[in-house]
């Protein structure tokens, strides 16, 4: 595996044209879904808590969704092989581990607080 290489791979030549369009279109609900979630959760927290500090469980849960959005975003250059190499793989590993940690911690604290 190279250290890092950049390529222009036409996403419309992924497979057949219909399959390529299907694959390209599927990224819209995935990335927009997670991105919208991060956006609405921070709006929710600002509206609900106002000037009060946001509790840890909600802060971690929001961070998990934010890193989840990054996770979904980085899968695009990996899938289309626009970026190939150890750098992108190491970044992917880092994002997955940080996102997973925040997700577990946030949801654990939510469930613990209201026991």
């Amino acid at each position: 595996m190279p250290f890092l290489e950049l390529h222009f791979v036409n996403p419309l030549e992924f497979g057949s044209l219909s399959f390529s369009i299907f694959m390209l279109m599927m990224h819209i609900p995935i990335v927009v879904g997670f991105g919208a979630s991060a956006f609405y959760i921070i709006k929710y927290l600002r509206k609900y808590y106002g000037e009060r500090p946001v509790p840890d469980e909600w802060r971690y849960f929001w961070l998990a969704i934010l890193w989840g959005t990054l996770h979904q975003l980085i899968e695009i250059p990996i899938l289309y092989q626009w970026m190939v190499g150890k750098v992108i793989v190491a970044t992917f590993i880092f994002i997955q581990i940080v996102g997973g940690f925040y997700l577990i911690k946030g949801t654990y604290l939510l469930s613990k607080k209201y026991q």
């Binding site: 595996m1 995935i30 879904g33 919208a36 609405y40 609900y48 899968e75 997955q96 939510l110 469930s111």
Partner: protein, 145 residues
């Protein structure tokens, strides 16, 4: 030539590091599954880190599903759980399935099976993204301050 030999040959070609999808994939691609490669590239020293992170990703969404069920049951007790949390819960669960698809897809590339591509990767990912996004929108809309 088996797939491992083919990958080694590709590695030797300095300016040909892209491994295009194999359009002649079968129903299941488990025959091409190898933890030595990621998107068709030899992983080398990153092998165990990638394996750990992909498994951790699946587990984190599954564990989150469990904790969200516990949270909604405890917090809402006998009241009806609002749609927002139901959408978020199912979105997190669908994404856990999609992460299994990611796990298989990255290791099976370029011969990812039809089942893995569609039923474990694409469809759960799309459903998960929509449900999480819509659930969070409802969470914001439902709030009364």
């Amino acid at each position: 030539m088996n797939s491992k030999e083919a990958f080694k040959k590709i590695e030797k070609l300095k300016y040909f590091t892209i491994v295009p999808a194999n359009i002649n994939s079968s129903i299941f691609g488990i025959d091409s599954f190898s933890i030595e490669t990621f998107m068709g590239q030899s992983l080398g020293s990153l092998k165990w880190a990638v394996l750990f992170s992909l498994i951790f990703s699946v587990l984190s969404f599954l564990v989150a599903t469990f904790f969200i069920i516990r949270y909604t049951r405890e917090f809402y007790a006998k009241r009806t759980i609002p749609s927002s949390w139901q959408f978020i819960l199912w979105g997190i669960f669908a994404t856990a399935i999609a992460e299994i698809g990611d796990f298989l897809g990255f290791y099976e590339w370029p011969k990812v099976g039809f089942v893995e591509t569609n039923f474990l990767l694409v469809i759960p990912h799309v459903i998960g993204g929509i449900l999480i996004g819509y659930g969070s929108y409802l969470l914001y809309k439902e709030i009364k301050v």
